[in-house]
Amino acid sequence: MRSLLGAAIEEEADVTLVDMEAGLEHLSRSGGTLAYADVLLMIMEPSRKSILTAGRTIALAHELGIPLVYGVGNKARMPEDGAFFESVAAEYNVPLAGIIPHDADVIQADRSGENMTAEQGLPVRQAIDAIVAFVDKAIAGENPGQAEREALLKERERVDKRLAELSVE
Protein backbone atom coordinates (compact mmCIF):
# COMPACT_ATOMS: atom_id res chain seq x y z
CA MET A 1 0.00 0.00 0.00
CA ARG A 2 1.19 3.46 -0.86
CA SER A 3 2.44 5.59 2.01
CA LEU A 4 0.48 8.65 3.12
CA LEU A 5 3.31 10.84 1.92
CA GLY A 6 3.24 9.04 -1.43
CA ALA A 7 -0.51 9.64 -1.69
CA ALA A 8 -0.13 13.31 -0.69
CA ILE A 9 2.49 13.73 -3.35
CA GLU A 10 0.23 12.26 -5.97
CA GLU A 11 -2.97 14.05 -5.06
CA GLU A 12 -1.74 17.41 -3.92
CA ALA A 13 1.13 18.20 -6.27
CA ASP A 14 1.77 18.22 -10.00
CA VAL A 15 5.50 17.99 -9.52
CA THR A 16 7.28 16.62 -6.48
CA LEU A 17 11.00 17.03 -6.24
CA VAL A 18 12.93 15.15 -3.59
CA ASP A 19 16.33 16.54 -2.66
CA MET A 20 18.19 13.51 -1.37
CA GLU A 21 20.72 13.83 1.35
CA ALA A 22 24.11 12.45 0.36
CA GLY A 23 23.98 8.72 0.83
CA LEU A 24 22.07 5.93 -0.76
CA GLU A 25 19.78 4.70 1.99
CA HIS A 26 16.89 6.75 0.59
CA LEU A 27 16.92 4.67 -2.53
CA SER A 28 15.00 1.95 -0.77
CA ARG A 29 11.41 1.08 -1.46
CA SER A 30 10.64 1.23 2.24
CA GLY A 31 12.18 4.70 2.43
CA GLY A 32 9.03 6.03 0.88
CA THR A 33 10.21 9.27 -0.62
CA LEU A 34 12.00 7.96 -3.68
CA ALA A 35 9.90 4.87 -4.25
CA TYR A 36 7.79 5.33 -7.36
CA ALA A 37 9.87 8.26 -8.60
CA ASP A 38 9.49 8.82 -12.33
CA VAL A 39 12.85 10.44 -12.89
CA LEU A 40 16.16 10.34 -11.08
CA LEU A 41 18.70 13.07 -11.77
CA MET A 42 22.19 12.25 -10.63
CA ILE A 43 24.10 15.49 -10.12
CA MET A 44 27.86 15.36 -10.70
CA GLU A 45 30.67 17.85 -10.68
CA PRO A 46 33.80 17.52 -12.76
CA SER A 47 35.64 15.27 -10.32
CA ARG A 48 36.07 11.51 -10.10
CA LYS A 49 35.15 11.75 -6.42
CA SER A 50 31.69 13.04 -7.27
CA ILE A 51 30.88 9.87 -9.19
CA LEU A 52 32.40 7.34 -6.81
CA THR A 53 29.03 5.84 -5.94
CA ALA A 54 27.39 6.45 -9.31
CA GLY A 55 27.33 2.77 -10.25
CA ARG A 56 25.65 1.77 -7.00
CA THR A 57 23.17 4.66 -7.23
CA ILE A 58 22.15 3.67 -10.74
CA ALA A 59 21.81 0.00 -9.81
CA LEU A 60 19.56 0.90 -6.86
CA ALA A 61 17.48 3.18 -9.04
CA HIS A 62 16.93 0.33 -11.48
CA GLU A 63 16.07 -2.03 -8.60
CA LEU A 64 13.52 0.51 -7.40
CA GLY A 65 12.00 0.56 -10.85
CA ILE A 66 12.67 4.23 -11.52
CA PRO A 67 12.18 4.29 -15.28
CA LEU A 68 14.19 7.38 -16.21
CA VAL A 69 17.69 7.85 -14.81
CA TYR A 70 19.84 10.70 -16.08
CA GLY A 71 23.11 12.38 -15.26
CA VAL A 72 23.46 16.14 -14.83
CA GLY A 73 26.88 17.76 -15.00
CA ASN A 74 27.28 20.77 -12.72
CA LYS A 75 29.96 23.44 -12.29
CA ALA A 76 31.37 22.99 -15.79
CA ARG A 77 34.09 25.58 -16.42
CA MET A 78 35.72 24.38 -19.61
CA PRO A 79 35.08 22.11 -22.57
CA GLU A 80 37.05 19.33 -20.88
CA ASP A 81 34.46 19.28 -18.09
CA GLY A 82 31.70 18.69 -20.61
CA ALA A 83 33.74 15.91 -22.18
CA PHE A 84 34.25 14.41 -18.71
CA PHE A 85 30.49 14.35 -18.07
CA GLU A 86 29.85 12.81 -21.48
CA SER A 87 32.38 10.06 -20.84
CA VAL A 88 31.02 9.32 -17.36
CA ALA A 89 27.49 9.15 -18.73
CA ALA A 90 28.65 6.72 -21.42
CA GLU A 91 30.58 4.70 -18.85
CA TYR A 92 27.47 4.22 -16.71
CA ASN A 93 25.08 4.05 -19.62
CA VAL A 94 22.86 6.92 -18.44
CA PRO A 95 22.02 9.77 -20.82
CA LEU A 96 23.02 13.30 -19.81
CA ALA A 97 19.98 15.49 -19.15
CA GLY A 98 22.15 18.58 -19.28
CA ILE A 99 25.29 20.40 -18.23
CA ILE A 100 25.12 23.40 -15.89
CA PRO A 101 27.95 25.90 -16.19
CA HIS A 102 30.03 27.13 -13.29
CA ASP A 103 28.65 30.53 -12.41
CA ALA A 104 30.15 33.25 -10.26
CA ASP A 105 26.64 34.33 -9.19
CA VAL A 106 25.97 30.91 -7.66
CA ILE A 107 29.27 30.96 -5.78
CA GLN A 108 28.56 34.48 -4.58
CA ALA A 109 25.07 33.47 -3.40
CA ASP A 110 26.54 30.49 -1.54
CA ARG A 111 29.06 32.76 0.11
CA SER A 112 26.61 35.43 1.19
CA GLY A 113 23.76 33.11 2.09
CA GLU A 114 21.46 35.31 0.00
CA ASN A 115 19.60 33.79 -2.92
CA MET A 116 20.26 34.91 -6.46
CA THR A 117 17.90 37.52 -7.85
CA ALA A 118 15.95 36.65 -10.99
CA GLU A 119 18.51 38.61 -13.01
CA GLN A 120 21.45 36.65 -11.64
CA GLY A 121 22.78 33.31 -12.75
CA LEU A 122 21.29 33.51 -16.23
CA PRO A 123 23.54 30.84 -17.80
CA VAL A 124 22.62 28.50 -14.95
CA ARG A 125 18.92 29.29 -15.33
CA GLN A 126 19.12 28.60 -19.06
CA ALA A 127 20.74 25.25 -18.37
CA ILE A 128 18.02 24.43 -15.82
CA ASP A 129 15.32 25.37 -18.37
CA ALA A 130 16.94 23.00 -20.86
CA ILE A 131 16.96 20.19 -18.28
CA VAL A 132 13.25 20.74 -17.58
CA ALA A 133 12.57 20.60 -21.34
CA PHE A 134 14.62 17.39 -21.54
CA VAL A 135 12.63 15.82 -18.69
CA ASP A 136 9.32 16.93 -20.27
CA LYS A 137 10.29 15.16 -23.45
CA ALA A 138 11.47 12.05 -21.64
CA ILE A 139 8.22 11.82 -19.67
CA ALA A 140 6.19 12.31 -22.84
CA GLY A 141 8.18 9.50 -24.47
CA GLU A 142 7.56 7.28 -21.48
CA ASN A 143 3.80 7.93 -21.72
CA PRO A 144 3.10 8.47 -25.39
CA GLY A 145 -0.23 10.15 -25.99
CA GLN A 146 -0.47 11.50 -22.46
CA ALA A 147 0.02 15.14 -23.39
CA GLU A 148 -2.53 14.84 -26.19
CA ARG A 149 -4.97 13.06 -23.89
CA GLU A 150 -4.66 15.82 -21.29
CA ALA A 151 -5.16 18.48 -23.96
CA LEU A 152 -8.26 16.70 -25.25
CA LEU A 153 -9.71 16.32 -21.76
CA LYS A 154 -9.23 20.05 -21.17
CA GLU A 155 -10.89 20.77 -24.48
CA ARG A 156 -13.80 18.48 -23.59
CA GLU A 157 -14.19 20.33 -20.28
CA ARG A 158 -14.32 23.64 -22.14
CA VAL A 159 -16.79 22.33 -24.72
CA ASP A 160 -19.07 20.84 -22.04
CA LYS A 161 -19.02 24.08 -20.08
CA ARG A 162 -19.81 26.16 -23.12
CA LEU A 163 -22.62 23.81 -24.19
CA ALA A 164 -24.14 24.08 -20.72
CA GLU A 165 -23.97 27.88 -20.92
CA LEU A 166 -25.64 27.87 -24.32
CA SER A 167 -28.47 25.62 -23.19
CA VAL A 168 -29.17 28.02 -20.29
CA GLU A 169 -29.28 31.02 -22.61
Partner: protein, 103 residues
Protein backbone atom coordinates in the same frame (compact mmCIF):
# COMPACT_ATOMS: atom_id res chain seq x y z
CA UNK B 1 5.51 13.55 -11.68
CA UNK B 2 8.10 12.74 -9.08
CA UNK B 3 11.76 13.63 -9.51
CA UNK B 4 14.58 12.50 -7.26
CA UNK B 5 17.80 14.49 -7.04
CA UNK B 6 20.82 12.49 -5.91
CA UNK B 7 24.57 12.98 -5.82
CA UNK B 8 27.56 13.28 -3.52
CA UNK B 9 27.72 16.08 -0.98
CA UNK B 10 28.82 19.41 -2.38
CA UNK B 11 27.96 18.80 -6.04
CA UNK B 12 25.15 21.36 -5.96
CA UNK B 13 22.06 19.22 -5.38
CA UNK B 14 20.24 21.80 -3.32
CA UNK B 15 20.79 24.80 -5.58
CA UNK B 16 19.85 22.70 -8.60
CA UNK B 17 16.75 21.38 -6.82
CA UNK B 18 15.56 24.86 -5.88
CA UNK B 19 16.06 26.22 -9.39
CA UNK B 20 14.24 23.26 -10.95
CA UNK B 21 11.32 23.73 -8.53
CA UNK B 22 11.11 27.40 -9.45
CA UNK B 23 10.86 26.61 -13.16
CA UNK B 24 7.94 24.23 -12.57
CA UNK B 25 6.24 26.68 -10.21
CA UNK B 26 6.54 29.51 -12.73
CA UNK B 27 4.72 27.30 -15.22
CA UNK B 28 1.81 27.28 -12.81
CA UNK B 29 2.30 23.73 -11.58
CA UNK B 30 1.76 22.83 -7.95
CA UNK B 31 5.25 21.97 -6.76
CA UNK B 32 6.18 20.10 -3.63
CA UNK B 33 9.82 20.11 -2.60
CA UNK B 34 10.80 17.39 -0.17
CA UNK B 35 13.99 17.97 1.75
CA UNK B 36 15.62 14.92 3.32
CA UNK B 37 18.66 16.76 4.58
CA UNK B 38 19.10 17.50 8.26
CA UNK B 39 20.38 20.97 7.39
CA UNK B 40 17.60 23.25 6.17
CA UNK B 41 19.48 24.27 3.03
CA UNK B 42 16.64 23.71 0.61
CA UNK B 43 14.38 25.92 2.73
CA UNK B 44 16.90 28.75 2.42
CA UNK B 45 17.32 28.21 -1.31
CA UNK B 46 13.55 28.44 -1.73
CA UNK B 47 13.60 31.83 -0.03
CA UNK B 48 12.80 31.18 3.63
CA UNK B 49 14.76 33.11 6.25
CA UNK B 50 17.01 31.12 8.59
CA UNK B 51 14.40 31.56 11.36
CA UNK B 52 11.58 30.37 9.15
CA UNK B 53 13.73 27.49 7.95
CA UNK B 54 14.32 26.39 11.55
CA UNK B 55 10.58 26.35 12.17
CA UNK B 56 9.71 24.02 9.28
CA UNK B 57 8.06 21.05 11.00
CA UNK B 58 9.67 17.68 10.50
CA UNK B 59 7.40 14.97 9.15
CA UNK B 60 7.18 12.12 11.64
CA UNK B 61 8.61 8.95 10.23
CA UNK B 62 5.21 7.27 10.55
CA UNK B 63 3.89 9.74 7.98
CA UNK B 64 6.88 9.40 5.68
CA UNK B 65 6.55 5.65 5.29
CA UNK B 66 3.24 4.86 7.02
CA UNK B 67 -0.22 4.84 5.49
CA UNK B 68 -1.80 6.99 8.21
CA UNK B 69 -4.55 4.36 8.66
CA UNK B 70 -7.09 6.85 7.36
CA UNK B 71 -6.65 9.09 10.41
CA UNK B 72 -5.11 11.85 8.32
CA UNK B 73 -5.64 12.63 4.66
CA UNK B 74 -2.99 13.71 2.16
CA UNK B 75 -4.52 17.21 2.26
CA UNK B 76 -4.22 17.25 6.07
CA UNK B 77 -0.60 16.21 5.80
CA UNK B 78 0.22 19.12 3.54
CA UNK B 79 -1.80 21.57 5.63
CA UNK B 80 -0.04 20.51 8.83
CA UNK B 81 3.49 20.02 7.52
CA UNK B 82 3.74 21.81 4.20
CA UNK B 83 5.32 25.24 4.35
CA UNK B 84 4.71 27.83 1.62
CA UNK B 85 7.83 29.58 0.38
CA UNK B 86 8.43 32.81 -1.57
CA UNK B 87 9.22 30.62 -4.59
CA UNK B 88 5.56 29.46 -4.59
CA UNK B 89 6.90 26.00 -3.89
CA UNK B 90 5.53 24.06 -0.92
CA UNK B 91 8.27 22.61 1.25
CA UNK B 92 8.12 19.40 3.26
CA UNK B 93 10.84 18.37 5.64
CA UNK B 94 11.22 14.60 5.63
CA UNK B 95 14.66 14.31 7.09
CA UNK B 96 13.93 11.36 9.35
CA UNK B 97 13.99 8.58 6.84
CA UNK B 98 17.53 7.34 7.24
CA UNK B 99 16.68 4.01 8.83
CA UNK B 100 15.27 1.99 5.99
CA UNK B 101 13.15 -0.74 7.48
CA UNK B 102 11.82 -3.91 5.94
CA UNK B 103 10.14 -3.29 2.63
Amino acid sequence: MKIGIVGKGGVGKTTTSALLCQVYARRGQRVLAVDTDSNPNLALSLGLSPDEADRVPVLPRSLVVGTGNGAITPADLLRDYGVPTPSEVTLLNAMAITQAGAG
